[in-house]
Symmetry: C2
């Protein structure tokens, strides 16, 4: 049974004032507590990207004091693992940082809903990982837990990327579960993303004699027509339907109110199923925008679901349902690039992430923990 | 016969250093000199908009000392007129200011070409007006000369507009000749101009789930298609062909690289023949962009050529050729709004105006003066 509070030692080490609310940062968390209370306790420690030291300290102390796991600290990333000599190893990963607080701190419980910055993205998932670490002694698979920093900012700062470079053995395993919000459903693999600039050139002229120029904005009409007519693929892989997308995300052009413009730039974001590489996606866009100047500004590969791997099959069985395709890009792709099957599985509706009204259904937190316990029991 | 220099008193009042070149600002100009030399002398007095005092002083002194005209000074605008009781009055207007100097000062004569800032726009025309004022004693029509400031900047500072408000009787007459560059051909009336914003609205969504949004940029494709397919009218009025135009001059849209944009704004500039009012032009654009939100941001009426008026007919005869339509918007429209026929007639190629290589064929300066002398002789 859960203790009435997730704070194991009752004395509080640090007082912190946030948005006029004063809450204590506990010395450690009770990892055997209700994972909903554990989520609330994590939410109540502010950890906007770059400011994760306090929450990393709290996670590190709790794991060291309440588990027999090997614990390593790297910057504000906390790593913990079993070493039971099992046939397979499962890596669970969750980031500790949040986007900036938006008048939604500290946590607030209303019936079966927990509100606050990070409830969905992704302290609910972190709480599930901690509760699993604190309550499962003899798992069927060896387990590695990765609590990392700086996921919500530019990729170069991402803590998982740093671990990949500095402590790569800590990411190795037979299955990766990234506990990002997925409505407590297994979301497999992820789609790739590529952004291109489509550019037209023209010739400037005074609009009083417009026929002496060539209008670069008019010339973009055909590109927009192709976008409108585009019918994205839906690709089935391992029973997951990856629904692609192609969207203009920016357009700019124009010199002055009386000048025929000589340049127009359309920025397009393509989300592509993981049966295609970024190079495939680029070739596809170059074909689609044939006749236009096309420049790739950035791209990230997708991740195949890999659900035929044994550990992945077991997880799907433990979840008792049909997995679905992950459509957004997540750190799942980092594990896929290491050759591991990788899924998202965590509580919360991802469409609420980064919103002021961010909130999670508490039963999803409990369900995720149950599924993972069944999987490793 | 012209004197060897256009500077009547040989002593120089002020020394001025511009771009490392030191030229004297003369006390007065010799209004009986070769109008090409007179043009060069005017060009050599810098008069970027807002800095017209020296050139206005020079014009005022020259007119007071060398003509019997009634002269009035208003700010940096100089007004001069005959009062001979003629049946008709002709108003000649020229602005004294220039766009900023662009490494093209002072004037430089190469054979039959005079180079420099203002040679085309429009000190050649000012020189023709001054030479006419200084050499025609008993014109067939009463003449009003308006040398005004701040034409090259925002309309609210325009000296002609100020005279219209403060000394309106000085602009009244039976024909207005604005000596803006017209290749020494009579350009009649002018086209109107209207700018509108065409706006689409959409619904934001993450591009990973683009189908949950509505893309406002895609929705602009149809508007661009209509622009591309648009066939502008060419309208014949009084034998002048007004060639209309419709040009996108700006487009903007987009929120972030991974967001379906919820707004796109296309700015369109329409140049319309003077058989249409701004209200007609607006109705035309609203019809063309039916289904879109259309906002008028600014408009100016065109000016009918009015060449059937007696004084206008006489001027066309004196020029000995077929007048053509003025396509750009000029201060001609201000006179047209007062109910007067109004034309552009001045030396220089208007497409060279505002360029660093601005230059005028000197024979065009002489031809304009000859035509006007014939007209009023």
């Amino acid at each position: 049974m859960a203790s009435p509070t997730p704070y194991a030692p009752v004395w509080f080490a640090v007082l912190t004032a946030v948005n006029g609310n004063v809450r204590a940062v506990p010395e450690t968390l009770d990892l055997t507590a209700d994972p909903v209370d554990l989520t609330a306790a994590l939410v109540d420690v502010p950890s906007v990207s770059g400011d994760e030291q306090r929450i990393a300290d709290l996670v590190e102390r709790s794991l060291r004091e309440q588990t027999s796991l090997e614990v390593v600290r790297s910057g504000n990333t906390v790593l913990a693992r079993t070493d039971l000599g099992r046939e397979r190893r499962v890596v669970l990963a969750g980031h500790l940082d949040t986007v900036p607080i938006n008048d939604n701190h500290p946590s607030r419980r209303e019936g079966e809903v927990l509100h606050g910055c990070g409830t969905v993205d992704m302290k609910g998932g972190d709480a599930v990982m901690l509760a699993l670490a604190g309550t499962v002694d003899q798992p069927r698979h060896d387990l590695t837990f990765v609590f990392y920093d700086c996921e919500e900012v530019e990729a170069v700062r991402n803590g998982l990327g740093r671990i990949e470079r500095e402590l790569p053995e800590w990411l190795r395993g037979d299955l990766a579960i990234v506990c990002e919000p997925s409505n407590a459903v297994i979301e497999a693999g992820c789609q790739g993303t590529i952004r291109v600039e489509v550019r037209t050139k023209g010739v400037r002229a005074h609009t009083a004699r417009g026929w002496m120029g060539v209008n670069a904005i008019h010339a973009m009409g055909e590109a927009l027509r192709r976008l409108e007519e585009y019918r994205p693929r839906t690709v089935d892989i391992d029973g997951c339907a990856y629904r692609e997308g192609l969207q203009a995300v920016g357009i700019t052009g124009g010199v002055a109110g009386n000048v025929v413009p000589d340049e127009c730039v359309l920025t397009v974001n393509h989300r592509f199923a993981p049966d295609r590489t970024p190079a495939d996606a680029e070739a596809h866009l170059r074909e689609l925008f044939d006749g236009y100047e096309v420049t790739v500004t950035d791209s990230s590969p997708g991740a195949l679901p890999g659900l035929s791997a044994p550990a992945a099959r077991e997880l799907v069985e433990a979840a008792g349902g049909q997995p679905v395709a992950k459509l957004g890009w997540t750190d799942v792709a980092r594990f896929a690039a290491l050759g591991m099957p990788a899924v998202n599985f965590g509580p919360g509706d991802p469409t609420l992430a980064h919103t002021r009204q961010e909130n999670v259904q508490v039963n999803e937190i409990r369900r995720c923990l149950e599924v993972l316990r069944r999987f490793v029991a």
